[in-house]
């Protein structure tokens, strides 16, 4: 199970909400795999990918709006995650029948959310905090 303990919070409501919504789907996937119901992953993963892409777009719009200087780099980072999402969809489609696909999906999804998505966002946490103080974010 993943848990957004304090070091995973951006302390910015809309972003934390969306990260939490992604974490909720990850936990449904983990539950499905552990509960011998991995067939569900086939529908959960497209849902996760859709939510992740929507989140990336929202986050990028926010970063542009508040003038975050490294926004291009972060956009590029988001784009670079496309291959991983494609692979996770493939794993999810096979998760019902295949142990290796289940193991890979679970590992990949947890790293994806906690490391690739949230931990990387910490790069601009301080910037958002500053902007929030002056009312610009």
């Amino acid at each position: 199970m993943v848990e957004l303990t304090p070091s995973f919070l951006m302390d910015y409501e809309s972003l934390d909400k969306e990260h939490q919504a992604l974490a909720d789907i990850v936990n449904l996937v983990v539950e499905a795999i552990d509960g011998d119901d991995a067939g569900k992953c086939k529908t959960l993963l497209p849902e996760f990918v859709k939510a992740a892409k929507r989140h990336f777009a929202n986050e990028e719009a926010l970063l542009v709006k508040i003038g975050y200087p490294n926004v291009k780099k972060h956009q590029k980072h988001h784009r670079s995650l496309n291959t991983k999402m494609d692979h996770m969809i493939e794993f999810a489609n096979m998760a019902g029948e295949n142990q290796l696909a289940r193991d890979s999906l679970r590992r990949e999804l947890v790293f994806f959310l906690m490391d690739d998505i949230i931990t990387t966002d910490m790069d601009f946490k301080a910037f958002i905090e500053e902007k929030a103080k002056t009312g610009e974010a």
Binding site: E3, K76, R79, F111
Partner: protein
């Protein structure tokens, strides 16, 4: 969440910046290899996680406890970590069992001893409990060091090039044993290495630390090998054949065929890197680029074959290629041999804008109301 959480860690020695805003999360139970060239700051990062070095910038948490940030520094013994460092040898004056009980000072003596014997059993070293380190081989000492690191049941295990002192024969076996002991222990492990093969073999997850002291890519070994997102990452795994071309109608033409350039604009100048196993040789093939075999080098299971493309229109610097091929391959000198590219092993990077990735698109629906 349980595991190691590193956030925005930067580090400099004097004027030399070694780590550049490194962030990572390693969940409990996962074995992650940090792979990077010598001098990229791997040992520095482990020393910071261990508390052997003072953190200059950022934050480090172990199992949700802050162990280092701008205001605090938990000493190594307070972090619940196990260490196996290059230069972190066994204590020569202590017996094997004393070495393993060393970290269990809080426990009653006989309980500590019983536990240490269990650990030695896990690594197959109980028969040597009363011996001293100098009586053991390098591989045996390594097993004892692993038992010693795991005995206090750490939250996190940090391994710095743990197999680099072993000879090649021993290394494979010890790697495998170490991997199974770690899997059984379920502890979060960060292992540092500069050896790509070692990382591929050991890790569930690889993180690449580049020369600029920042993480360039992370993922399953398969992903790092087949989908490198930086030229640097692609080149880590040894020999590469390099071509330069221009994207046209979604493809790049190189002397040994066409490679798809998904998501790249027409007219963009690119570099195409092809792994030696991505050059396919064919005897008496109708298509493909004609070549001469220059030499063959048997490397155990594989041959590395040096070839020279013979067509007139090939640029001199793109003529000489390395090909990896099954060891049973023997070039038949009487036959015409040709080469073709296998797209799975070919990677394209834009030449303008270093470290760029293909900007494949996703439906982007920016919502101005993202702000709260």
């Amino acid at each position: 969440m349980k595991g190691l959480h590193v956030i925005g860690v930067s580090h400099a020695y004097g004027d030399t910046q070694v780590l550049n805003s490194v962030s990572m999360m390693i969940p409990a139970g996962e074995l992650v290899c940090l792979l990077g060239p010598s001098g990229s700051g791997k040992t520095t990062l482990l020393r910071l996680a261990a508390g052997l070095e003072r953190l200059q910038h950022g934050q480090i948490l172990i199992n949700d406890q802050v162990v280092a940030d701008a205001h605090m520094h938990v000493p190594p013994e307070g972090r619940g970590i196990g260490l196996m460092f290059q230069d972190y040898a066994l204590f020569p004056h202590l017996s094997i069992i004393e070495n393993v009980t060393f970290g269990l000072f809080g426990q009653p003596k006989d309980k500590a001893r019983r536990h240490a014997m269990e650990m030695l059993d896990q690594v197959g070293m109980t028969a040597h409990a009363e011996n001293h380190p100098h009586m053991l081989s390098g591989g045996q000492q390594q097993r004892v060091a692993l038992a010693r690191a795991l005995a206090p049941e750490p939250n996190l295990l940090l391994l710095d090039e743990p197999f680099s002192g072993l000879d090649t024969n021993m290394r494979g076996q010890i790697r495998e044993e170490t991997q199974s002991v770690l899997k059984a222990s379920g502890v979060a492990t960060v292992m540092v290495t500069h050896d790509p093969e070692e990382a591929m073999f050991m890790a569930d997850w690889i993180k690449i630390l580049g020369n600029n002291g920042s993480i360039l890519q992370s993922g399953r070994p398969h992903e790092i090998y087949y989908h490198p997102q930086h030229e640097f990452v692609a080149k880590l795994f040894g020999l590469m054949n390099r071509f330069v071309g221009v994207v046209k109608d979604g493809y790049v033409e190189i002397p040994i065929g066409k490679v798809g350039a998904k998501g790249m604009d027409d007219g963009r100048r690119v570099e195409v890197l092809v792994r030696p196993e991505g050059v396919l040789l064919e005897s008496n093939g109708a298509n493909g680029a004609p070549l001469d075999v220059v030499s063959t080098h048997l490397l155990g299971h594989d041959n590395i074959v040096r070839v020279r493309l013979t067509a007139d229109n090939v640029a001199p610097e793109e003529r000489n290629l390395y090909v990896r091929i099954h060891h049973t391959f023997e070039p038949e000198l009487s036959k015409r041999i040709t080469a073709d590219v296998e797209a799975d092993y070919a990677f394209i990077f834009p030449l303008d804008g270093a470290g760029d990735v293909a900007e494949a698109s996703y439906a982007s629906t920016p919502q101005p109301e993202a702000a709260k």
